[in-house]
Symmetry: C2
Subunit: 350 residues, 2 copies
DNA sequence: GCGCACAGCGCAAACGCTTGCGCGCCCAGC
DNA sequence: GCTGGGCGCGCAAGCGTTTGCGCTGTGCGC
């Protein structure tokens, strides 16, 4: 009779199967199992195959804790994301998650929404020691708080913007603004408004500032005098856009064209225009930024930016940085594209 | 003078400070430091205070890997989320993240979008051994795949739906459907359509099935004969809603009211109606589900469901389950609420 | 005045891996 | 036939915490 041995062939609740179990059944040491499973040299092909098959059969998975302790690595990447319920950030996150998953990295998220949470995050740095790298999706951070990121002790990558000297992936928002306003100028508009945005706490984000600058530059190059009252600032989102448009319509000389910070803002503006019975683009043209999934449906002219790709690129950057130490360009600017649809046209012949 | 070139390998103040460092400086053993920092008994108040202050000063943080290895716990909770770029899921995630962060738990996300990724996820179970619990945000899973969740070896909680016998947090979607359709019936409508949805791959999700059932029940109770052609199924989202409405309008006897699976679908329907010049609610009433942030702006009547709260509740449930083993009710149904706004009204007197 | 209980703390054994090093063994080259 | 060099693998020392247990010293009851 063979000595009674625990028959936990069928994995299930109960003590997890350890590397030692695999090693024993394979008749090798745990060292060899470890090397075999991670495709490290020093294991013959047959042995490696046998071990892998066995591990598979026992549905063995390494303990990330133990592995991490021993190797000094976590296999995780932290992602700091503000306003996760906004399309832009969620999509960016999806892009990041995709490449990280393909690289067998886990994704830890830190939702940092608002100034208070931001302060808390940078004060406590809860991500410390928990990941091999940190990806921060663009959010406004005072220099003083940003400095604390160095304490985190791992690579930091910025997605969708820039921060200090950290490697980043973004689009050229000044160019975006110039392009959008330029399109309107090219159509013959001279009274061009811009709807700027701020978050719920009144902070203007860097992307907004850049797009505004582009807008100003485009008007300047066209020799169009600035009309400050055509620049309105509202809270993000559809609501803000709607309110902004109301303000613009109430002007003595309303604009003939509007450049909205984002497509969502533009949709809000469109809503107000429709309610007010103002023809688009007959009386007023509208252009946004993003190419939000529903923009096509609204026939909205926009400057498309590759959001998911920005996330994916940032993820890849983080991984490369981790592996090669110093690889690939570490300041990436992705291209944008003007998508002309039905909400922009020449100004009404006056 | 130190001609030594600047080391770029100093991303932080040298090697991380360990518990042993804290212990030495405090003149105690690491055991005491460990207990002190985690507020465990066996440490005098003065000692504890001294240790905490010191740890703070050295900005010490425990190694999650080491701590995890020793304690057999990870301090992490995995969240499985489909379609993270949709408002519903992102908001649910935000709710979960909030309570978990407050409980000092980290959140690992697994974006499982589509059948292929789903199969892959349940086949490999990449979350295994990586978290103390898993929260699955409702997605359709074949029984055969769902069974594999047991292999994960930790608590599983379902948010926004049900799955097998796992504890869950959700709303009563049958009731939601009954309520929405009931509202329309109450207004006097008899030709009530429903726009159902499927995901990009043609699967109808459980919530949709439930709401449809509620719809049928409401009509049945009112003695309204079913007109199968009034039940159309389209892909999620605004686009789907728009297309569905087009189909309904092309019917020989179009409905006088439409119950859309969600607010986003309803918005698509509204868009089509506006384009077609159909008065709302004059000629056709529209009701959705969710109370999406922009629904108010569209003056959309809807059945509100507490999305973020569902997430938060699921998170809390997971934590309680972890701590007390078996606490609190583990099958929670949150209330919904009919929000009557401007897109529903009595049918046109015929 | 003698124990006894208990508070406060240290010792050291896990926890489950990774990895530097060393030891056979087989084969090729002289 | 000897030797040198790999290759394939095992040994064992960590990796930084947690935690059961044991030790000391104080205060209290009798």
């Amino acid at each position: 009779m063979t000595p009674e041995s625990p028959q936990r062939d069928t994995p299930g609740p109960g003590p997890a199967v350890l590397m030692a179990d695999v090693a024993r059944r394979a008749g090798v040491s745990t060292a060899t199992v470890s090397r075999a499973l991670r495709d490290m040299p020093g294991v013959s092909a047959p042995t490696r195959a046998r071990i892998k098959a066995l591990a598979d059969e026992l549905s063995y998975v390494v303990s990330p804790e133990a592995s991490g302790l021993a190797s000094g690595t976590t296999g995780r990447i932290a992602v700091v994301v503000p306003k996760i319920d906004l399309w832009f950030f969620a999509t960016m996150l999806a892009g990041i998650e995709g490449v990280l998953r393909d690289a067998d990295m886990d994704v830890l998220i830190y939702h940092v929404d608002g100034a208070e949470e931001r302060r808390w995050f940078f004060e406590r740095l809860p991500a410390r020691r928990k990941a091999d790298a940190v990806i921060v999706i663009a959010l406004p951070v005072p220099e003083q708080e940003a400095e604390r990121l160095d304490l985190i002790g791992v690579q930091v990558v910025i997605a969708g913007g820039e921060l200090r000297d950290y490697p980043h992936v973004r689009v050229d928002d000044v160019d975006v603004g110039r392009r959008a306003a330029g399109h309107l100028v090219g159509l013959g508009h001279r009274d061009i408004a811009m709807i700027r945005t701020q978050d719920g706490e009144g902070s203007v984000w860097a992307a907004d500032r850049a797009r505004s600058q582009g807008y100003c530059e485009a008007l300047g190059e066209a020799g169009i005098p600035r009309r400050p009252e055509l620049m309105v600032t509202v809270d993000w989102g559809i609501h803000g856009g709607a309110r902004a448009m109301e303000r613009l319509l109430s002007l003595e000389h309303p604009p003939t064209a509007v450049f909205a910070y984002s497509d969502e803002v533009a949709m809000g503006a469109l809503l107000t225009l429709r309610r007010a019975g103002v023809g688009v683009p007959g009386e007023i043209s509208v252009i946004g930024v993003d190419d939000h999934p529903v923009s096509e449906l609204y026939d909205l002219t926009t400057v498309r930016q590759p959001v998911e790709l920005q996330g994916a690129t940032a993820g890849r950057l983080a991984i490369d940085l981790l592996r090669d130490g110093e690889a690939s360009p570490d300041r990436v600017t992705l291209p944008t594209e003007l998508v002309v649809r039905g909400t922009t046209g020449p100004p009404r012949a006056s």
